[in-house]
């Protein structure tokens, strides 16, 4: 178990270094950051001086070395665009994204799982068929199109809900939340539903499939043969067995939610990290892009590591397998 953990940890570090290299090196060649920092009237010589001062003329490996050294302590340098430390920017934006992602994840889990269970149990019923068809529509509509339609319908035509931003936020320590004001809650509704829809349909379909698989096993057939009630079978046996893979996959889905937040945040002008990322791509703000990629990699790699450990814990065979293979 111990060697398995060390192994996975080492792998994770290798991955992070690789991502760092990609994030750093490739984005370095996209666009000219100088142009984003100065006005049209700035002379050639001034541009060259700025380039020199920012270290953009240093050799590649030297720049990369500095990047890694600083990244380890959470220092991603100064944003070209805002001229404030990137870590400040990210810290400022993180609550918005996390709040949106967590609400969406909760929505998708608490609606998706019951729907999945229901559709698995009443496989041929009218309602579950409707759910299934609706879920197909859900995954067939691109996120940006759903967002646009929501804004148009609920924001412009019906005027029920705000069309952009977080509304009024309240700060609790370093965290800012929109959950404590009415306008903040109203602002959350459209983006979180938009973001949750896709995940919700995925989870529902996943739970349904897993559940159906379990319902076909001998184990459940035995339970039936023993004369247990349908309810006990469905919830006591089948769901319990379904949940283990589902929970691990939901863990991974949380990462997905954060990635899809990029699109949702762009459509709803949600001041989170995703919008920061897209804007930094447009403005060629290299430090922000690099920091975002590194951060999202750290999150994803950690989730993966946790899932791996969880699997190893559930299924001891994997430990031996993994240990012998990599050891």
């Amino acid at each position: 178990m111990f060697s398995f953990l060390i192994n996975r940890l080492l792998q994770s570090i290798v991955v992070l270094i690789a991502v760092a290299l990609i994030a750093f090196s490739l984005f370095k060649f996209v666009g000219d950051p100088i142009n984003n920092m100065v006005g049209q009237d700035t002379t050639l010589q001034e541009r060259e001086e700025l380039r020199e001062r920012l270290g953009l003329n240093d050799p590649f490996h030297l720049q990369f070395y500095h990047f890694i050294k600083n990244a380890v302590v959470g220092d991603f340098g100064i944003s070209y665009r805002h001229k404030v430390p990137v870590s400040d920017l990210i810290a400022e934006r993180a609550p918005a994204t996390l709040e949106l992602s967590i609400i969406s994840a909760l929505l998708s889990v608490f609606i998706g799982i019951p729907m999945g269970v229901y559709t698995a149990i009443h496989r041929r019923g009218f309602i579950s068929r409707s759910f299934m068809s609706l879920s197909l529509v859900g995954i067939s509509l691109p996120t940006f199109l759903i967002g646009i339609l929501f804004i148009f319908l609920f924001g412009v035509i019906l005027r029920w809900l705000p069309t952009f931003g977080r509304g009024e936020v309240v700060s609790i320590g370093w965290w800012t939340t929109g959950l404590l004001t009415w306008s903040g809650i109203k602002s959350l509704i459209l983006p979180s539903i938009t973001l949750a829809l896709f995940q919700m349909t995925l989870i529902m379909r996943l739970v349904r499939t897993e559940m159906l698989e379990v319902l076909c096993t001998d184990y459940i057939k035995f339970a039936r043969a023993r004369g247990l009630s349908e309810q006990a079978i469905n919830f006591g046996h089948a769901l319990k067995n379904t949940l283990i893979p589902v929970i691990t996959i939901i863990g991974l889905q949380l990462g997905l939610v954060m990635a899809f937040a990029i699109i949702t945040e762009t459509v709803f002008q949600w001041p989170g990290m995703g919008m920061l990322f897209i804007q930094s791509i447009e403005e060629v703000d290299v430090p922000v892009m690099a920091a975002y990629l590194m951060m999202i990699s750290v999150i994803f790699v950690s989730i993966n590591l946790l899932v791996d450990i969880l699997y190893a814990y559930i299924d001891p065979r994997l430990t031996i397998d993994g240990g012998s293979k990599h050891g």
């Binding site: 490739l26 199109l145 148009f152 990462g255 699109i263």
Partner: protein, 313 residues
Amino acid sequence: MADSYSKKSNSKLKQFFAGDLWYDFHHSPVALLSFSISVLCLLLALTAQLIAPFDIFDLAAIDLMDADLPPPWAGEEGDSRFFLGTDDQGRDIWSGILYGAQISIFVGFTSVIISAIIGIALGLLAGYKGGRIDSFIMRVADIQLSFPAILIALLIDGVMRGLLPREMHDELAVYVLIFAISISGWVQYARTIRGSVMVEKNKEYVQAGQVIGLPSHIIALRHILPNVLNPIFVIGTIHLASAIITEATLSYLGVGMSPTTPSLGTLIRIGNEYLLSGEWWITLFPGAALVILVLSVNIFGDWLRDALNPKLR
């Protein structure tokens, strides 16, 4: 040799028509409908050059004078030549949809095929060879799987665009998209194939093959592969739908097809700017076309998955 091969495939075809799948298919209205709509979309898009009333790539054929006309059946300014109206440059929307769908479908199909080839090859290799190769491929797969496909596609797309000379972006946009989407999608195929191969590998027919000394690539390709293809079709169909969506999303975010050679995503992006101004036809029709296309493919894929899952019979 050739003779025996054709005979074999012929018998396979017969087997297919006599099989459960075909029976299910032509007795399922959902499957029939979604399949026919998918095929119809495909045909319309493929023949865009023949059936589209206007060549939207020919700048000399576009007249700014015709810009922003509503469909003739929906507004008085409409022109009977453009039955779904025109966009801001005077392009016929219907022709735009046909050409745009052609690009979307081309990108989608090619990406799926490339993903599948890469995935199958690596999956077979990993599953059959095992050991270090297996653990290496699967670690790469795990790592990639931990990043969402859309993020990877966005990243690769951005990187490629950064590395290519700017004036080539428009010409190479299609290939960049295909590259980005196919690289981001191979993992599922590989994992599925590997899993199936691990199971098949221990079956008697493979062990028999090994005993009589068949080379491993023959065993893998001729004997194992055909037995693990079913899930690949299911993944492929669903992946096609998601590849089309990914293409549309990238084009919508402005890092896909350019407005002069628009795909459905680009058309929606252009039209989005006009949604509030009452020129709904510029967004609505391409959006509807995209949804119909993706939905029909998804429904068919969904049906196929259930139909091919023996446990659900």
